[in-house]
């Protein structure tokens, strides 16, 4: 499943905004950090995904081999599915 990281959300690093990656693992359900960050209870819990991006699609200036990847842990509500 490909996912797209659309706009700036809490704890989504700028460098992967708007990039397309692949979910490689489901890390579990955790309380919503945006709510927790403001003193809320974080419920309902959200699924946390580990998403893999090809380095050379993230950085114009990436100098390593094309197989290198960057993996970021992202909550499901910060992702948009893209095709299949």
């Amino acid at each position: 499943m490909r996912v797209d990281s659309p706009s700036h959300h809490y704890r989504t690093p700028t460098y992967i905004q708007g990039k397309t990656g692949v979910v490689v693992a489901i890390c579990g359900r955790y309380r919503n950090p945006e709510s927790l960050g403001h003193g809320g209870d974080g419920m309902p819990e959200q699924l946390l995904y580990r998403v893999s991006f090809a380095q050379n699609s993230v950085w114009d200036r990436y100098r390593g081999p094309s197989g290198d990847k960057i993996l970021v842990d992202i909550y499901e509500h910060w992702l948009d599915p893209v095709g299949v």
């Binding site: 809490y10 690093p13 700028t14 460098y15 927790l36 960050g37 403001h38 003193g39 974080g42 950085w59």
Partner: protein, 100 residues
């Protein structure tokens, strides 16, 4: 424009300084205090992150690691009503005087 804490991929050609500085007593106590407050639910990781990320960018860049934590903790404790900045100011003065 990303906030100052969001620094992945920022242009930086500096070699990584691999030396470790000796932790000062105040840093170790500050670290322990943070953990204790965390355990008691008084300061939550996500709240601390939010507070840290709201620090003035120039301040963020100029402070050392534990100094940043302290600045962020102060903001959060004041926001939650545990302390006021005035109280902290007065206590700093009191401790300074006591030390002399």
């Amino acid at each position: 424009m990303p906030k100052p804490h969001d620094m992945g991929g920022e242009p930086n050609d500096e070699p990584i300084d691999q030396s470790d500085h000796q932790k000062m007593d105040w840093e170790m106590r500050a670290d322990a205090l943070h953990q204790v407050l965390g355990q008691k639910g008084i300061r939550r990781t996500d709240e601390m992150r939010r507070s840290m990320e709201s620090l003035d960018p120039d301040l963020y860049r100029s402070l050392s690691y534990y100094e940043r934590w302290t600045a962020a903790l102060e903001l959060l404790m004041v926001e939650k009503g545990y302390l006021t900045s005035d109280e902290i100011d007065r206590k700093v003065t009191q401790l300074d005087q006591g030390a002399n």
